[in-house]
Amino acid sequence: MTDKPLISIQAVSHTFHTDSGPLPVLNSLDLSVHKHQFTAVVGPSGCGKSTLTRLIAGLMKPDEGEVWLHGERVVSPRATVGMAFQNPVLLEWRSILKNVMLPLEIVAGNMPKRERESRARYLLKLVGLEGFEDKRPSELSGGMRQRASLCRALVHKPDVLILDEPFGALDAFTREDLWQTMHTLREQEPFTALLITHDLRESIFLADEVVVMSGRPANAQYVLPVHMPGKRTLEDLYTPEATAMLATLRQQIQIAQGRS
């Protein structure tokens, strides 16, 4: 990977000004993600991981340093980003299909309605929600809602998919199902992704590279390349290699928490 990275975060520092004084969250953070690479970011609670996603999405500007996307400096929101959060934030008054179509109404106003609809239907089918297009979000389970939320994040073919703990609130079995879905989506719709997570197994199962953030104010403390050749299955998480990777990550998190 000698070409320029798709996401490039250069010496970014950021401080929040709270009622109880300044709170520095990021300290000279460097991070890059190449095209079609899947990067997971793990770290102690409150180390500025969500701030990182907002910076890349252009929802915030850093105090210092620069965020680059596709060779362009990010200064404001851009239509080439798709986001999914722990809360699926589906609009209750819209059907599942209409929810998935929402980003297209914003960024592809002149795309024919028929095309928008078939694009949304295609994605819903990929994640196993065929037949639920006309349901309301409240009629679906948490896992299904999160699947719909992923479709919405991908519907406008964003360059970058930003996932802020999207599986955090799901039960363990549903979460593992969704991990598989992520692999299916990635096969069919190659994307570049940045995943924020607290789940170390999730990070190595999904990502090509795991970045461990240090405690606050955070920088990239450690980068773990994940080598799992071929199509990953849940069994791959129980190999000696996976166990070794998990042990390394755990150790790094403890360092980040200042406990070792």
């Binding site: 980003v81 934030v89 929402l102 980003p103």
Partner: protein, 253 residues
């Protein structure tokens, strides 16, 4: 299911009237102390033309005041919902204004707009009913989870787009909840003016004449007519709510 929805409220009303009749009968109250439902219909029938004219005057002025309250209340609510500064600035003023007994405002209004009876009445209906609408819209907008906004903002959507696609529809259930309260309040406003500053218009005036003539059954008949109009308008709001915010209603489990 539809039969059920009509039968249950109707039986509740019938039961209430029967209880009322029984209470008056058991206590042997004369009708200057408490009229019974059976006295009301003759009183109503005797003055049915007056009920029709006065009722219409009360109704249209209430609805006009309510319309004004919706426009103004929504506007104030939007200003307070979107701007923290405006919220901090306006809340004490609004609460203070709302705490003033509106009966005391009637003479003031009457002096400002002398002789403008319709305007006075509409203004009072408006003043008494815009507060819940403003509060509910402001709360609905200010409690919008940031993720909802971020979803659209990260795509470069304008503030107006975010309002139209997310904030507005999401606030509708709260808005209709407040509108149901506002409907009944608006009737109080209209009748305050009609009773305190009578200009020979509206059911409030009919009530006042009945009081002067010690026609107690007529007084009660006016109250029932007002209650009836309140219920009517309430169900209009319910129907609108079903159309525009029906999604918020959960299927019975």
């Amino acid at each position: 299911m539809h039969m059920r929805q009509i039968l249950i409220p109707l039986s509740a009303i019938a039961l209430f009237l029967a209880g009322w009749e029984l209470l008056v009968w058991v206590n042997q109250w004369p009708n200057y102390k408490m009229a019974s439902p059976s006295d009301l219909w003759p009183a109503f029938w005797k003055f049915k033309e007056l009920f029709w004219t006065y009722g219409w005057q009360t109704l249209w002025r209430t609805v006009a005041g309510l319309m004004l309250a919706i426009v103004f209340g929504t506007l104030i609510g939007m200003i307070m919902g979107f701007s923290r500064t405006m919220r901090d600035a306006l809340y004490p003023l609004l609460v203070g204004f709302n705490a003033i007994p509106k009966a005391t405002v009637v003479p003031i209004i009457a002096l400002i707009f002398i002789g403008q009876n319709n305007l006075n009445t509409i203004l009072m209906a408006f003043m008494i009913s815009f507060f819940p609408i403003a509060v509910s819209v402001s709360v609905g907008l200010s409690t919008l989870e940031p993720e909802y906004r971020d979803i659209l903002r990260s795509l470069g959507a304008s503030r107006f787009m975010i309002f139209r696609k997310i904030a507005l529809p999401k606030t509708l259930p709260e808005f209709f909840g407040a509108l149901k309260v506002a409907v009944t309040l608006a009737f109080i406003g209209t009748n305050l003016v009609e009773i305190i500053e009578p200009h020979g218009q509206g059911l409030g005036h009919l009530f006042d004449s009945a009081r002067i003539n010690s026609d107690y059954p007529l007084m009660f008949a006016v109250l029932i007519a007002l209650a009836f109009m309140g219920i009517l308008l309430y169900y209009v709001v319910v129907a609108l709510e079903k159309i525009f915010a029906g999604w918020a209603e959960r299927a019975p489990t």
